[in-house]
């Protein structure tokens, strides 16, 4: 029993992989027809998308915070992307404009998040949630409720959704690029070392001479940029881009990060873990879709998984020593 517990606690990525495989096999057994090239490609595409969306979340959670604005930043940059690409600019300039916009918007919102958390000292969940709210409402104002164009121009869509060998979606390349970027960021910079230290023991980090406040603001800003880019790509990957399209992704990114072995209290975790966590989430949701589970059960399962994760990995100290 102790051995199993120990295994659970130390090899989270392996555990997540095991569960993923288990779920996938289970789904295939229940519905053998679900095992086909199309589904596989779709799983890969959605996983890449989720990885991209969860990159920023990974960084933020490593600092011991949380980013509730992921989905809304994605939504707003997606809408902006769609309108920019349809605005008559040539595809090259349009792409560039959309890229710059996504980065700028994401950075701005992320910066605000960072200010709220680090400068004002508000609890991350609360402040990012309220900022997310405003961002959400902004979308409706821009588009007056319904965007003029609800999908990107075909050339862009093709770019994002082509499948090589009918299985590997081109979005996988984006996923790979993001992985390389985050990997370098988290593995090869001073910033990353300070990030991990701040997340693991903020007090010690402060006493050792780390500017924890500045670090957090930068982290939320970077996360915002990554979220913005996720929206840029997501616009191409989704059929229908509407106000609040990606709103529900926020919670999925959090679960992916936590399932992948990153602690909610911060200080430990990796992007590799998040990727496995993302895969698990997609396989799980695929499974639930195959089972044709009702809304109600889906929510219940999500809630129970969260509570279980929280009680395993995120408990507070007791009062009596």
């Amino acid at each position: 029993m102790e051995r199993i517990r120990h295994f659970f606690r130390t090899r989270q990525i392996a555990v997540a992989l095991l569960i993923t495989v288990f779920l996938f096999v289970l789904t295939t057994l229940i519905n053998p027809r679900s095992l086909n090239v199309n589904t596989a490609g779709s799983i890969l595409a959605l996983t890449s998308m989720l990885c991209l969306a969860s990159a920023g979340q990974t960084l933020v959670i490593l600092t011991g915070g949380i980013d509730m604005s992921t989905g809304d930043v994605m939504s707003i940059t997606a809408i902006l992307t769609v309108s920019i690409l349809h605005s008559g600019l040539s595809s090259g300039i349009g792409m560039l404009a959309a890229f710059v916009t996504a980065v700028a918007v994401g950075a701005f919102i992320g910066f605000l998040n960072g200010l709220g958390v680090a400068a004002a000292g508000l609890p991350p969940m609360v402040v990012t949630l309220y900022i997310a709210n405003v961002v959400d409402k902004l979308q409706y104002v821009f588009t007056n409720g319904t965007p003029t164009h609800t999908s990107v121009p075909n050339w862009y869509k093709q770019l994002i959704t082509t499948r090589f060998f009918s299985v590997l979606p081109s979005i996988l390349i984006v996923g790979a690029l993001v992985f390389v970027f985050v990997f370098l960021l988290l593995g090869r910079t001073r910033y990353a070392r300070q990030l991990y230290l701040t997340g693991n023991n903020p007090r010690a980090a402060f006493l050792t001479g780390i500017r924890t406040r500045r670090l957090k603001i930068i982290t939320y800003t970077i996360a915002g940029i990554l979220n913005g880019l996720a929206g840029l790509i997501g616009a191409g990957n989704t059929g229908n881009v509407d106000c609040g399209t990606f709103r529900d992704m926020t919670i999925t990114t959090i679960v992916a990060v936590v399932v992948g072995g990153t602690l909610l209290v911060g200080g430990k975790g990796s992007f590799q873990g998040t990727m496995v966590g993302a895969l698990l989430m997609i396989v799980l949701s695929n499974g639930l879709a195959v089972l044709q589970v009702s809304d109600s059960i889906r929510n219940l399962i999500m809630g129970i998984i969260l509570i279980a994760l929280l009680s395993l990995y995120n408990r507070e100290r007791s009062v009596r020593l």
């Binding site: 593995g187 090869r188 910079t189 001073r190 910033y191 990353a192 070392r193 300070q194 991990y196 230290l197 693991n200 023991n201 007090r203 010690a204 980090a205 402060f206 006493l207 050792t208 001479g209 780390i210 500017r211 930068i218 602690l263 200080g267 430990k268 009596r320 020593l321």
Partner: protein, 506 residues
């Protein structure tokens, strides 16, 4: 009436209590004495249900009782006033005193009854202000009085006061002692934990002395004199020193101190600290626990804001608002509370060693894991840290090795000033010796080391000069031949030499 027998408690590697005993009779005031690390506070917290003992039993009137939670304490008519206060700052004095034992009328608190109940206690303790004042609006001494009132209001048969007189003015102490005598006359058993020897002789009948977690003496107070008590507490007889602080700095007279403070005041813990430390020396800071040593170190680091006073670093007037400002100027800090303040438990040994170095340099410049590993390996070799591989998690190291790691972390930065706050607490003797050796070598190469410690032996071993803190100021500085344990002990307990010429015993 109350007997605690064979109480043992260990925190990690540290044995706070080793089969300690104490027996208290009815109608008696018992003093519980002990130097740093003697376990007296721990013992009383076991009685109060705040700490669970590993071994031992508690007997009340001959019958064994079990204390599982702080609720039980009330059931057995025991009440404890804590040194760090168990008050709720956002509630009123009245609410605090009766917290948990509020008189009720049906479902509601009976305010009238409450008022009547605490009235007499308040007046006997000289609390004349309105009891609906919030505790957070009170001065520290007033808060201590409320803590005492709270314990007394529980109408206990056994009353314990843990260092609550530390922040009281003399007239308040008088009132408290009057009350204690009154309670004694009613047949209550009272235990006071204190470091003020005067109080012991003034009001206590018996005393129990703890040393190193064990009970070493227990007898009527009249059978001891001051030197005896101090001898039991520390193993030495005290020898007070007359002196003038300015004397011993002659050897350094021409040099600019690395760090100098004047009248540093931090309300309420530091009351005007004057301090100087020079290049190449190891300056010790000693005294009983909680006399302001920790706070002083942190004020120099920039972690604790200074209310009044000045600080000079390398001759320049400075005011550090954050540790990073001090670190960037070449100051390092090593804490005794590794887990909370130094170690990053889930990060690797290599990262832990590299932590201070990680704060220097541009954020987004390239830093390969190899650089960190090499740096770490070098430090491990230099300071002989037993760590396995640099990839192992820091919390897999023993306490002593963790502390050596932290020392390595800072020494490799070649700081001009190294501040240490009780770094060898809970560290095994072997590592401790090594740490001392490392620091001595560093000082020899010119580093200025400020070393606060709760262990007298250690201070005598390692320090060139020793400042002794007592109730928020440095009361004595020992250097040269004055560095004997007897004189240290006297300074620690603020024992005044009666034979000193006037004016030198401030």
């Amino acid at each position: 009436m109350l007997e605690m027998r064979g109480i043992s408690k260990r925190f990690g590697y540290v044995r706070a209590l080793k089969q300690a005993n104490i027996t208290v009779q009815k109608a008696e005031i018992m003093a519980l004495l002990g130097a740093n690390g003697s376990g007296k506070s721990t013992m009383m917290k076991v009685l109060g249900g705040l700490i669970r003992a590993d071994e031992g039993s508690i007997f009340l009137n001959g019958e064994e009782i079990r204390i599982e939670r702080s609720n039980d304490v009330h059931k057995y008519k025991i009440a404890i006033g804590l040194q760090d206060l168990s008050l709720i700052p956002t509630l009123s004095v009245m609410d605090n005193i009766l917290l948990g034992i509020e008189p009720r009328k049906g479902l509601f608190v009976d305010k009238k009854e409450a008022s009547e109940r605490i009235g007499p206690i308040l007046s006997r303790l000289g609390i004349t202000y309105d009891p609906s004042v919030l505790v957070s609006d009170l001065a520290p001494s007033e808060q201590s009085m409320v803590e005492i009132a709270k314990a007394i209001a529980r109408d206990p048969d056994i009353l314990v006061l843990d260092e609550v007189t530390a922040s009281l003015h003399s007239h308040e102490v008088d009132l408290v002692f009057e009350e204690l005598k009154r309670l004694k006359a009613q047949g209550k058993a009272i235990v006071i934990v204190t470091h003020r020897m005067g109080e012991v002789f003034r009001v206590c009948d018996r005393c129990t002395i703890l040393k190193g977690g064990e009970t070493v003496a227990a007898d009527a107070v009249e059978n001891f004199d001051l030197d005896d008590i101090i001898f039991h507490m520390t193993g030495r007889r005290p020898e007070a020193v007359c002196q003038d602080e300015e004397d011993q700095i002659q050897i350094h007279a021409d040099k600019v101190p690395v760090i100098e403070t004047r009248r540093i005041t931090v309300v309420p813990t530091l009351k005007g600290v004057n301090f100087r430390a020079f290049q190449g020396e190891i300056v010790g800071i000693g005294g009983l626990n909680g006399q302001g040593q920790s706070e002083f170190i942190r004020s120099m680091l920039g972690d604790l804001p200074i209310d009044e006073g000045e600080m000079f670093y390398q001759g320049e007037a400075v005011r550090f608002r954050m540790p990073v400002e001090a670190v960037n100027r070449g100051i390092g800090f090593i804490s005794g509370d590794r887990n909370r303040e130094s170690i990053f438990p889930l990060r690797s040994v290599g990262e832990n060693i590299f932590a201070a170095e990680a704060t220097q340099g541009r954020w987004f410049s390239h830093l390969s894991p190899k650089t960190i590993a090499q740096y770490a390996k070098r430090v491990i070799g230099e300071y002989d840290i037993v760590a396995g591989s640099t990839k192992h998690l820091a919390n897999s190291l023993s306490g002593g090795n963790q502390q050596k790691l932290i020392i390595g972390r800072w020494l490799s930065m070649k700081p001009a000033l190294l501040l240490l706050d009780d770094p060898t607490k809970g560290v095994d003797i072997h590592s401790r010796r090594e740490i001392h050796r490392i620091l001595r070598d560093a000082a020899r190469e010119g580093m200025c080391v400020v070393y606060a410690s709760s262990d007298n032996e250690e201070l005598l071993e390692i320090a060139d000069r020793i400042y002794i803190f007592y109730e928020g100021t440095s009361s004595r500085v020992l250097s040269g031949d004055d560095r004997t344990e007897e004189k240290l002990v006297a300074a620690m307990l603020d024992v005044r030499a009666s034979a000193c010429p006037k004016g030198e015993n401030s």
